[in-house]
């Protein structure tokens, strides 16, 4: 990954911004120039809820070298109500994680480019504090 690519995606990565279609009304993430559902170009940026339900997850061991140090990496499918997203899950013990729990977005380090390169940040999800 390059710094440029990270910068281009900063709004979805830092602020959990998706898009809402003014024609079909649906919400999706990450934002794109046209609605992934109906193809309309009439879209508005929409900040997604930072809390949602963990619908499913996987504990990934077969990661590239960039992820070796943190392996296994947990990735989850999270339902935020308006839209579903796939993102990393953090602060969780793989053995204790369960489908259906509440999770919340938190800003975390995503990776480092080389030994002295840029440190990338972005949103991950952790089990919600004070979860019901």
């Amino acid at each position: 990954m390059t710094m440029q690519k990270h910068w281009r995606n900063r709004r979805s990565l830092y602020r959990l911004e998706g898009a809402q279609c003014m024609d079909c009304g649906r919400v999706f993430y990450p934002p794109a120039p046209r609605c992934v559902y109906c193809g309309s170009g009439r879209l508005e940026r929409k900040q997604l809820p930072r809390r949602g339900t963990l619908v499913s997850y996987s504990v990934v061991y077969s990661v590239s070298d960039e992820g070796r140090k943190e392996a296994p990496v947990i990735v989850g499918l999270i339902d935020l109500g308006d839209a579903k997203v796939i993102a990393e899950v953090t602060d969780a013990d793989p053995d204790e994680l369960q489908v259906g729990i509440q999770v919340e977005a938190v800003l975390r380090r995503l990776g480092v480019q080389g030994e002295s390169g840029v440190i990338y940040y972005g949103l991950k999800f952790r089990p919600a504090l004070g979860a019901d």
Partner: protein, 377 residues
């Protein structure tokens, strides 16, 4: 009409001594020899990883030279894991439109020149790199999410799911071109090395090098099979965009256009070669096509519906799971195997009296889907 007049495959393996072009040439020369042709109008090369692994761009032109076909028209097709099917679709358009009479289509990929983590990084690019592919999902993370969702949603027992891999190994054992030619005990699958829990090594395709080729012509000559159609549709960029992530909408669309389902809900084919990159992919495909009811594909597979003597034999080759899945080449293995089945010359598990067969290819979990329909000539 378009006919398959020749097919050539290389055994999927770790071919350290062969580069991408040499591997492709072996398959291409076999296909040309098989079709008893030495000249073609067009060479279409399909490859996905060779841009990163070899690395080589404009592969088709260099391959034409390797084959001694300098001067021929050449085109390279990349469509991720569906590259092979996309190239066959392009060849079909050329032949049916009269722009070409004879096309050599060849698929090749090497996956073993780098260590596995580096190959996982390459494979991660099959997913949307500004969406889920941005995260450290590796090659199997989405499969893991979908497999757990399947188990939760339908209450399917993990042990029953293991019969798919066992069936694929049983078929591959008889296929001389397959990478994993040994029987697999289903009780070993669940506790094998985890790739993306609950997906284990034994739920996933192996990393191997391979090349396969077919010759497609407008005149029947000594045709092995007719390609009636190759239909396709693009899908959502992520499974997260789907209402039901386990339903592959692009596949449903491609299958409906190809007309492989009869009005009575039964499939109008005698066998299928499908894209079982992971156990869960196989079940999603079978259920999206309506061959199994939702949540029932694992049980149906365990009970023999998809075995060689079952109601609908699926992947007599051993599938991606055991024949292997050299990404850009896989589609050509599928089409070559289907054509050989219809001609009665497939050197592995034979489907008795097969008149029509289908080939299902996907990228990822359906960012695009292809359905090919073949028949006896």
């Amino acid at each position: 009409m378009a006919y398959v007049t020749g097919a050539g495959m290389v055994k999927i393996d770790r071919h350290y001594s062969l580069g991408v072009r040499e591997l492709a040439a072996q398959a291409a020369e076999k296909a040309l020899e098989d079709s008893e042709r030495s000249s073609v109008d067009f060479v279409i090369a399909a490859s996905s990883l060779s841009f990163m692994q070899e690395p080589q761009l404009d592969l088709a032109s260099y391959l034409a030279s390797t084959l001694g076909l300098r001067g021929v028209k050449a085109l390279t097709v990349e469509a991720g894991e569906a590259s092979g099917a996309a190239a066959v679709q392009a060849a079909l358009a050329l032949v049916k439109s009269g722009l070409a009479r004879r096309v050599l289509v060849v698929g090749v990929d090497k996956m073993t020149d780098y260590n596995s983590p580096e190959t996982y990084r390459h494979l991660q690019h099959l997913y949307d790199t500004v969406g889920e592919g941005f995260h450290k999902i590796g090659h199997a993370g989405i499969a893991g999410i979908l497999m757990r969702l399947y188990m939760t949603e339908y209450g399917v027992d993990r042990e029953v799911m293991a019969y798919w891999s066992a069936l694929m190994h049983a078929n591959a054992k008889e296929n001389p071109y397959a990478m994993l030619r040994f029987a697999l005990d289903p009780s070993k699958v669940k506790n094998a090395m985890p790739l993306a829990d609950p997906v284990t090594l034994l739920d996933a395709y192996p990393l191997g090098d391979g090349a396969a080729a077919i010759v497609i012509e407008s005149s029947p000559g000594r045709a092995m099979a007719s390609i009636l159609t190759v239909e396709s549709a693009t899908g959502y960029p992520s499974v997260a965009h789907r209402q039901n992530p386990l339903h592959i909408e692009s596949l449903a669309e491609a299958a409906s256009k190809a007309g492989i389902m009869g009005g009575d809900g039964r499939m109008r084919i005698d066998f299928m070669e499908i894209h079982d990159s992971f156990t869960i992919t196989a079940f999603m495909i079978l259920e999206t096509l309506g061959a199994s009811d939702k949540g029932k594909a694992a049980e149906d597979a365990a009970e023999g519906r998809y075995s060689r003597d079952g109601e609908l034999p699926v992947n007599p080759s051993g599938g991606l799971k055991a024949r292997g899945h050299p990404i850009g080449a896989t589609g050509f293995y599928q089409y070559a195997e289907a054509a050989m089945q219809l001609a009665g010359v497939f050197p592995g598990v034979k489907v008795g009296d097969a008149k029509r067969g289908a080939v299902v290819s996907l990228n990822g979990f359906g960012s695009s889907s292809y359905v090919g329909l073949l028949s006896r000539p």
